[in-house]
Amino acid sequence: MTPRLRQAWILLGLGTLLAGCGGNQNTVAPASHPERSVADVFWVMLGVSCVGFGVIVTLLFLGWARRDRPSLPGGGGERAATRVVIGLGVALPIVLLVSLFIWSDLFVLRSVAAPTGRTPMTVRVTGHQWWWEVRYPGSGVVTANEIHIPVETKVTALVTTDDVIHSFWVPELNRKVDMIPGVTNRLLLLADKPGVFRGQCAEFCGLQHAHMSVEVIAEPRPMFDAWLARNAKPAPRTNALFTRNCSGCHQIRGTSAKADVGPDLTHFASRRSIAALTLPNTPANLRDWLRDPQHVKPGNRMPDLPLKQPQWVALQRYLESLR
């Protein structure tokens, strides 16, 4: 669809509501060409649907307006009515549905399909109750809840789960794909322009399904390369308080904390959010989160820790140093 034609649709009632507003999790504000083809399918279907709905409303209205006249608007009785049923109820839908089928399910489907060959880059995304583990094969980089990718580069996301079924979905970049135990599904991640694209777990996965979000950060290649290099480094120092209280679940590369129950925290301070986008990563939020994670995100796996005031401050200072 040409931009002008699309704009015409956007001006149509719904479009004005949809296209401009909203956060950055908008199915019909595509930032990649696979997603753009999905949005095109939608706008065309919406257009045809509006016409179809208009026909139905008109017929119902005519039924009401001509309620005292026992014939069709153009004259004719039951036989003519039966012909309308066959024409509009059988023949026309067959033509429209076959066209839609050929276009969307045979052609467009290919553009959103997972890449079959090798792509320039691969990330592994694993769903956990209720956060995302992100690994960059070959670099040793592990992070959580944010996926950095270079812009205009095809990235294969290999997705699976560590526990229940989740669904990986970044609406402005591509379709969604489920994360199923024992299965690794593939998805093409591609951003045509730099930006932060929000995504959210789309399959009900328990208590905190609502707080399982992810961000894809698409950057120009040099910035991405710098990010990757920085994140490949181990942490500069260890911290006894962290090792004693947190190493049962978390890993900080370069220290003795090596567990993989919770997110890797090696570069925690450089991340944009806490607890899968539950809170922005600010000092005040980190303070609230550390002291009472069960209040912020009820039911999550992080326990309340029995620490004293100076220890809290020290622990927070250490985490904030992990850039």
Binding site: L59, G63, I86, I94, W169, D178, Q200
Partner: protein, 636 residues
């Protein structure tokens, strides 16, 4: 037929009264086998469940009215969300359509005096009640089902859901499916064997075609769900590995079996509603249905094709592209029978001279909502779009337009339409039209904005959401709409209660309906028809000569069958009388049998397997008692 009958005719009617009389009082309701009384029991019970499901919905909408709301926590929200789905599907719509409407109306429409298996009919009601009590008792121990009505594994396995929540779900549904299966079988046999003389297939009311299609779907779809739930309980309670990929099981097995049931289920839900629409439209349009045979075929076709589309619920699971394309094609195919019906309804309205009274207004609303829900449904057959929007509020919007707009609206219209038949009194037309506008506007406000938030990325089954995603205003409108809708529904309830007490007597046939239920008194006598009517068209009440002939037959004593508790059996295709069936009298055994089964399920829940086995054995004993009072011959 309350004509001033000469003494011979009065004697025949009195003989019928005696033969069909049931015990009065509360005990009479426990032992009744009268399809009309069982239908009313179903009606009131499902209304209670409807209210429960509605309150659950309003609580959820209150929590979602604004971002970051803390009215209810995630634990409660998940239980409400699961129970809302389970209740509306299994304890409201199926029992309301097949149990209440089907039970009450099918025998009347086909000119029979009862269902084919009256005691089995009672059993299916009492089992349904037992299953409902079982499912809802979970709230008393704060362990209501919480893994969603779709209950995906491994989330629903013991490892991630350790309480009794999912056991209530799985056992409760196994229990419920037994009741639904019995009810569906009963409807099928009734429609096959008890149609009035002359009612060949081409003269059967479309309502009965719809009920037949829904019942056939039920008996083929429910076993998949039952098997799925049995597998789940075997894995949860006894350590089997059906869904455990580490031991050769597969979590997707649950989804396949669930949706093999779950999609036909959608048609099970809407088919009876189509049936109600095809009853109301000809009556108020004062014209028979346009394209009658096409509509009958379409109803059966929907039920059939509905079995080939289940995997469109699984387009995002990563199954093979070939599979996706096959199921997408089938999902498009299933559109055709629906478009046939939509245009047949609209053309009937256009070709007739419709009176837009409350029942027809609800059907008008139904058509609009069904088209909206149908169009968004077609969108999901476009695989890439489905993969983008599945599990968002776009889906929630879609299926609420189908389930609420297309299935419940005709039910509401049907309640008004048959209210005079069931009670003998008229409903209040002005209140009824007001209730239509409230529910119509409420439904639109509640469910339409969900399309938009869905496209804006709002996923389903979340108990809260962040500010700044552009979802707040839409959600607030939805919540307000929910309360408007609730007010409209409440007004229908008020109208029913007031009209039941103070309504104007309606007489036999206030709307000049075409089908047989309008030929008998309102409310119908226990034996339904003094003379078994003989049928020569799909709209026998419009065939005045036939009905006058019925009166003459009463005088002659033909087809009165007043010698006993009898109804005629007819041949399956042509509806020619083949035998006279002696029907069983009222019986305490169905309620006792259902009581033992309920006890058995509670014992299974608490893992008392030996005692549960004893309860099932006790149930077999009640069946012995049941069979001791078998009528000499017949289908009872």
């Amino acid at each position: 037929m309350a004509v001033a009958a000469p003494s011979r005719e009065r004697a025949r009617i009195e003989a019928l009264e005696r033969a069909w009389l049931e015990r009065p009082g509360a005990l009479g309701w426990l032992t009744t086998v009268d399809h009309k009384r069982i239908g009313l029991l179903y009606f009131w019970t499902t209304l209670v469940f409807f209210a429960a499901g509605g309150i659950e919905a309003l609580l959820m909408r209150t929590q979602l009215a604004q971002s970051g709301e803390r009215v209810i926590g995630p634990e409660t929200y998940d239980q409400l969300m699961t129970m809302h789905g389970v209740t509306m599907i299994f304890f409201f719509i199926i029992p309301m359509t097949t149990g209440a409407f089907g039970n009450y109306l099918v025998p009347l429409m086909i000119g029979a005096r009862d269902m084919a298996f009256p005691r089995l009919n009672a059993l299916s009601y009492w089992l349904f009640l037992g299953a409902g009590i079982f499912m809802y008792s979970s709230f008393l121990v704060h362990q209501a089902p919480n893994a969603g009505w779709f209950d995906y594994v491994p989330l629903a396995l013991r490892r991630y859901d350790g309480g009794a929540n999912v056991d209530f779900y799985a056992l409760g549904l196994i229990f419920n499916t037994v009741s639904s299966t019995i009810g569906a079988l009963n409807l099928i046999v009734t429609i096959f064997k008890l149609r009035a003389p002359g009612m060949s297939w081409n003269r059967m009311p479309l309502f009965c075609f719809a009920m037949l299609a829904a019942s056939l779907s039920l008996i083929f779809a429910l076993p998949a769900l039952t098997a799925d739930c049995i597998f789940l309980e075997l894995q949860r309670k006894l350590g089997f590995h059906f869904f455990d990929q580490a031991h050769g099981g597969d979590p997707l097995l649950w989804q396949h079996l669930f949706w093999i049931f779950g999609h036909p289920e959608v048609y099970i839900i809407v088919l009876p509603a189509f049936g109600i629409a095809t009853s109301i439209i000809p009556t108020f349009a004062r014209h028979r249905m346009v394209a009658f045979p096409l509509v009958a075929m379409a109803e059966l076709l929907v039920a059939f094709i509905g079995f080939g589309v289940w995997a469109h619920h699984m387009f995002a699971t990563g199954i093979a592209t070939t599979t996706l394309v096959f199921f997408a094609a089938a999902s498009m195919l299933v559109v055709i029978p629906s478009t046939i019906q939509i245009y047949a309804w609209l053309m009937t309205v256009n070709v007739g001279t419709p009176q837009f009274r409350a029942p027809l207004m609800f059907i008008g609303g139904f058509i609009l909502f069904f088209v909206i829900g149908g169009l968004s449904g077609i969108m999901f057959a476009a695989i890439p779009f489905d993969q983008a929007t599945t599990d968002t509020y776009f889906v929630v919007a879609h299926f609420h337009f189908i389930i609420f707009g297309a299935a419940v609206f005709p039910l509401l219209g049907g309640i008004y339409y048959w209210f005079p038949k069931v009670t003998g009194r008229m409903y209040d037309e002005r209140l009824a039209q007001l209730s239509f506008w409230l529910t119509f506007v409420g439904t639109g406000l509640t469910f339409f904005p969900m399309h938009i938030v869905g496209l804006l990325g709002m996923t389903r089954r979340i108990y809260t959401y962040d500010h700044g995603l552009g979802w707040d205003a839409y959600n607030l409108v939805e919540t307000i709409g929910g309360f408007v809708l609730a007010a409209g529904l409440l007004l229908i309830g008020i109208n029913i209660v007031l009209s039941y007490r103070r309504g104007v007597p309606s007489g036999r046939d206030p709307f000049h309906g075409g089908t047989l239920e309008w030929t008998t008194t309102s409310p119908p006598p226990h034996y339904n028809f003094a003379v078994i009517p003989t049928v020569s068209s799909p709209y026998p009440n419009w065939d005045e000569a036939d009905r006058e002939e019925d009166l003459r037959k009463l005088a002659r004593g033909e087809l009165v069958l007043a010698d006993g508790h009898e109804t005629p059996e007819t041949t399956v295709n042509d509806g020619a009388i083949s035998a006279v069936a002696e029907m069983p009298p009222e019986s305490p055994w169905p309620v006792l049998a259902a009581g033992t089964v309920t006890a058995a399920f509670f014992l299974l829940l608490t893992s008392h397997y030996a005692t549960a086995g004893m309860a099932f054995a006790l149930m077999l004993l009640t069946l012995v008692g049941w069979n001791l009072h078998e009528p000499e011959e017949g289908v009872g």
